[in-house]
Every structure is written in C-alpha cells, then in structure tokens.
C-alpha cells in the first residue's frame, strides 16, 4: 500500500505554475530522495503534503486520508527553517511535542540530547544556530511517524554535521515508515536512498526508481546522472 498519493496535482503562485499535473505514488517503508534543481517545486510539494499550502487543484492522500489534522499526526516534518520558539527551554519543547504527538518518544529524544551533550534545561536562544537545528532534527526524528518529510536537511551545514544528520536519520527513523528527503546535494545523501525521483520544472518526473537498479543500469552514481539529466536546465 502506498503511504502517499498525489493525483492530478497543480499548484500556481499567481500566474506562475509550479506544479503541473503531478501524479505520484510513494510506497511505505522506503527512503526516497526527491531530487531536483532549485525552484522545481520540491519544497512546494512537501508543504502541500503538510497542509501548509493548498493545491490549486488535485488531491493528496496520506495513508488513505486527505490532508488535515489527522495526517499531521502521522507526518513528521523538518522544514528548511528553524521553527522553534527561542524563549522556550529544550525540556519545554519536549513536553510540547509529547503533548501534541502521540507517537513522540520522549526517551529517545532525551538519549539523543544526551549524546550531543545538549542540556535539556538550556533555553533555545542560548544555543548556537547549528545546535538549534540539531534540536529540531531530534524532535522530528524522535517521533514514530509513518511519513517523515525532510526538506533540505543538509543544506547550509558543514560536512561533519551532514554526516551527523544522515546518521541520526538512519538510526532513528521508524523502519516501517517512509522518509522523503528533498535536496540538491545528491552526492551526500545518495548512499542512504532506496528510491529516488528526479523532479524537473513544473513538477515533471524526469526519472525515478530504485537507486541501486539505476546505478547498475547506467553505471553511474545518482549524482552523475543528475548532472547529466539537468545539464541544460541549470
């Protein structure tokens, strides 16, 4: 059964069409890379799945349900931005997530904080930007969600932090769940992907499938393939 289905999806920003007749079905239990050049609509699609944006037309179904509070309860979303309130303490944040998400694993969150030597009593405003991002990642990955949506999780961070982020994702995600990662930094994430989708402008699915199969078929890495496919687009 697919965890996510988009049918005849269109999204316009004024006169500009960002997604055009997108149809996609995402299976459960996979790590999927949603890969495409900047501005191709990756984040727009993710935001529509989370309910932050409303499609101009078309349907999105998550685990057989239309987008709404119920689907938010099974989606764990990591946006590009830090959404944490600086006035809160880390421990308050954990209580907040515990209050709202039934699938939040408090013990796992505390363990991850301990591993990173982040004091739960510290206020978020006293933490560095990088540490706040890590706290946010911990909150997202401490949930036993059915669908993880990670929007550019490694953009703008140093290589060591990238490794930490990818390791955290791999070690903590619910194995029965689906993880969708959007990025254009393919080289760094391709080793963890089961499947991939190359998204062109207008949300056109240029290429997709099993990552290992494609690598075997073309004798190239996804990164090399991406550069070849989008050579003229950039």
């Amino acid at each position: 059964m697919s965890i996510l289905e988009c049918r005849s999806l269109y999204k316009n920003y004024g006169n500009k069409r960002v997604l055009e007749n997108m149809n996609i079905s995402v299976p459960a239990g996979k790590i999927i890379g949603l890969l495409g050049p900047n501005g191709c609509g990756k984040s727009t699609l993710i935001k529509m799945i989370c309910g932050l944006l409303v499609p101009s037309s078309g349907e999105i179904w998550v685990d057989g349900m239309p987008i709404g509070p119920q689907t938010n309860g099974i989606i764990s979303y990591l946006p590009e931005r830090t959404y944490l309130s600086n006035g809160m303490k880390v421990i308050d944040l954990i209580d907040y997530f515990c209050d709202f998400y039934r699938d939040f694993d408090r013990k796992r969150a505390m363990k991850m904080l301990q591993d990173l030597m982040i004091d739960p009593a510290s206020r978020l405003r006293t933490l560095s930007k990088g540490t706040r991002e890590k706290v946010q990642l911990i909150m997202v990955m401490a949930r036993n969600a059915k669908l993880y949506l990670l929007d550019e999780p490694i953009a703008g961070v140093d290589p060591a932090s990238r490794d930490y982020i990818l390791q955290t994702i791999l070690q903590n995600y619910n194995p029965e769940a689906t993880v969708i990662i959007t990025t254009h930094l393919i080289h760094d994430i391709e080793r963890i992907l089961d499947e991939f989708v190359f998204l062109g402008f207008g949300g056109e699915i240029v290429m997709g499938g099993n990552a290992d199969d494609i690598r075997g078929q073309y004798g190239k890495t996804l990164d090399e393939l991406f550069r070849e496919v989008f050579k003229y687009v950039q």
Binding site: L52, P69, R81, T82, Y83, F100, Y101
Partner: protein, 277 residues
Amino acid sequence: MFNKIFKYDFKFVFRLWWIYALITAGLALIGGALLRGIIEFITANIDNFLFYILAFLGFFTVIIGLCCFPLAAVIICLVRYYKNFYSDEGYLTFTLPVKRTSLLNSKILTFLLFEIMSVAVLIIDIYLILVIGIKGFHTELANLLPMLLDELKEIWNPSLTADVIIFPFLLLASALMGINLYYLCFTVGSVISKRYKVLAALGIYLGVSVAMSFIQQIISSFTISNLMFTSITYTEFATNGAEFTIYLGLMTLLYGGIAIGAYFINLHCIKNKLNLS
C-alpha cells in the same frame, strides 16, 4: 486538542502579563499615597509648589501607566498571534495535529480572557488608589451610594432597562470585533506581503478604522443625532432615551456582524492562503 493549544497560548501570555499586573499594583499603591499627600497638603493649606508639581506629575504618570496596562495585554496577545502563526514558528503551529479552527479560537479566547482580566485588575488598582488616597473612602461611598440609587430610581424607565440589558452584549461584541479585526489585519498583511507583514497589517487596520468610524457616524446620524447635538440635561436624555437604545442595539448588531465576518474571512485565509516565508 483545543485544550492543549489553549494551555500553551494562555501560559505564554500569562508569563508576561502577570509581571505587568504586579507593576500596576505597585503603581496603584504609589498613586494612592500621592493622592493622599495632595489631599492632606491641600486640607492643611500647605503651600509647597515643588511638592505639588512633583506629586501631580507622579500621579499623572501613575494614571498613564495604568491606562497603558490593557494596551500591554493587547500587544502581548498580538505578538503571540503574529509569532505563532506568521513567523517561522508557523511551520510548527500549522503542522500540529490540531484543526485550524481550534488554533484561531484558542487565540481569540486567550485575548478575550486577558482583556477581561486586565480590566478587572485596572478596577482593583483604581479601588486601591481611592482607598489609600481618600481618608474614609468607604464611609463616603456608603453615603453616596443611596443618593445615586435614589436618582437612578427617579429616572428609571423601560428604555433604560433595555440599555442595561443590551450594554453587556455591546461590550462583548465590541471586544470580539476588536480582537477579530486585529487578527484579520495581521493575517491579510501576511497574505499580501512576505517582507513587510506588520507594516501591511498596520496599514490595513488604519483603513478599517476609518471605514468603521464612517459607518458609526452614519448610524449615529440616523439615531442619536438629536441627542448629541442639542443641549439636554441628563434626566431628559435618560427619559427620552429610546433613540439611544436603538443606537446601542444597532451598534451591537454592527459590531457583532463585523466580528463574525472578520472571523470567517480570517479562518478562510488561515485555511487556504497561508503565506509563510
């Protein structure tokens, strides 16, 4: 989920509000002491210009400080609304498993409660000033109240009964209109502008205020113009107050209508037109 979201909204506002409430209590004590000093000096015919200047200035500052208190509550609630919905925090708020209606209702209820609580605190503060400032305040009040009640009995008529019934509804409708308009302006400001959301909200609120006062003037010109522009005594006004009752009723309907309209437009925008950065 409404309870949980309301708990967090209430806690956020209360965390700052109680500090202001304590400050106003302090101001009320100072104000009472200053008032007592002024009255005692006047009664004793003490001619100390510097004292009078400082005491009046101090008392004036206390009154300004107290008047600002409900405004502080409004600002805290608006900051909460803006940050929670339209700053980056919106990415968390709107991906919680909570209905958008609950998110908005919680903000409205929090605002309304803190408005009521602020007014209650203000009344207590004024009472404190009077009790401290006026010697034998309770005795004077006990003497004054029967006189006021007698006067009220004399002028009482069905129209005044209707006014008394309508007035709480008018206050509620007016408060809800204010809250929903403030929130709507922030929402529309965020929908039309990504960079200058607050500025856009202020501009919209200014426009709405002008339109509102225009409508209000039209209604009053059809209802209470003869009461406003002719010189009549309070008793005449009260005994011929049918126009005033109609005015109160119409204003209650207008404020209530605008509150409901603003609420649904806001809800529509929150559900369909989110424009997070």
